[in-house]
Homo-oligomer: 229 residues x 2
DNA sequence: CTCTTATTCTATTGTTCGTTAGAGTAGAAG
DNA sequence: CTTCTACTCTAACGAACAATAGAATAAGAG
């Protein structure tokens, strides 16, 4: 009996062929960026194209690839088509992929150090620390993502102040408040910019170690829609 | 202030570019098969080419891609070059990828059902069950992988009987023994073939739910080299 | 030094992928 | 029915990838 009977080879080829469908789906930077955005929640093609800085046609083509790999599904609402992750396990997979890249590529860590830590200079606040602070009640939790992302889901008790509005609204914050800002994930570029504004205005501001998807996946309290505070 | 400053876009492109290096590495079925083999332990180019049913030249080219993505590293010993995973986290990533594919593609489950379960007809034995049975001492644990894979690492107490030798050596097994066979992972094709032989010879034989890498990653007892039993 | 083995490099060819432009479709509003 | 918006499909073309053959290299044996 040969070690690899023909049928065994055929089965293997078919199995690994399916495994590689996932690989092909995440073999392009823009598709990974789209997955990252979709880890936040459902988004329309137009919004995804804008956030990922690509043409709508090109974005649609990449989303098609993701849909054919069954990592995302769609829902039509009027003229708009909304894409979302097919399952929460896709978000988990993205997290493992991101962590592996951080682990294997020192460059990633360098980029993060240079861009994020060099800008805010302070260690990020962990999820546990934030929960403790929130229990003590002397912290403002700031969601600096665009308003519609906040409404699709945010950390319970957080205030929505999109980065573009921050400069205008920062004056209304209680004097001497301690502020913790978060956005889409550990490498989102919105928070460093927000911290810059906040510190310039004299607030003590730190960033949450990671973003909303990680918070949600950890099973911590989230809220949807507007909050009346 | 614009939501996406140019520097933010550049940083994002660089980050997602690095993330996609992992994706590109696993975008080909043969490279995934090579990673799966390397999850077992270190292997030479020749052995990998044979196991994955590809030419040595082609195998070398794919290994080069994996090495450039830093998922594997090499070690030279005489004229031979040995490849191994760069880190255990690569094995974890492979597991998550495999599970996601199983989750998302019903075909994978169907293949597994058709090929594996239809052949052995019985539920696999879980790791915990096997440990309990081993404690009671009335079970033969069979490693049906090629001898050099056994020697590179195996379940402590397991007996090495490569599939090709099984027919010849099955006669020497204790009459009426209960046999649990394992190989490379949940989808390895060696075990179903082994169970077929064992049952034909009148033994009660089941398969372990998954293979050696999962056992090792679970922190359960492993051994290296020959065992004197 | 030559020969052998194991592996890698180079060049070539065919195939797939990514992007863009332009046309086409589905649904809502007038 | 027409018009608008949001999205998708088709075709085209350059870029990247995969497989193969043949040459080249590195290390050990004779």
């Amino acid at each position: 009996m040969a070690t690899n009977r023909p049928s065994g080879r055929l089965v293997k080829d078919e199995l690994y062929g399916h495994f590689s469908r996932i690989g092909k789906a995440v073999a392009h930077p823009k598709r990974i960026e789209l997955l990252d955005l979709l880890c936040q929640g459902e988004r329309s093609v137009e919004v995804l194209a804008d956030r990922a800085a690509m043409s709508v046609v090109n974005c649609s083509a990449h989303l098609r690839v993701l849909r054919e790999s069954r990592l995302v599904t769609t829902r039509r609402e009027g003229t708009r088509v909304f894409y979302r992750l097919a399952d929460d396990s896709v978000c988990t997979f993205f997290g493992v992929l991101r962590d592996l890249a951080t682990d294997r590529y020192a460059e990633v860590d360098r980029i993060v150090q240079d861009y994020f830590n060099a800008r805010d200079g302070l260690e990020p606040v962990s999820r546990d620390e934030l929960l403790r602070m929130a229990g003590d009640g002397d912290v403002v939790v700031l969601d600096v993502r665009p308003a519609e992302e906040y409404e699709a889901g945010h950390i319970a008790g957080a205030v929505s102040v999109p980065l573009d509005d921050l400069q205008a609204r920062v004056a209304s914050f209680p004097e001497g408040a301690f502020v913790v800002a978060y956005c889409r994930g550990p490498y989102c570029v919105l928070v460093p910019q927000a911290l810059e504004v906040l510190r310039r205005e004299g607030f003590e501001a730190r960033r949450l170690e990671d973003g909303f998807p990680e918070w949600r996946q950890a099973g911590l309290p989230v809220a949807v829609g507007q909050e009346s505070n």
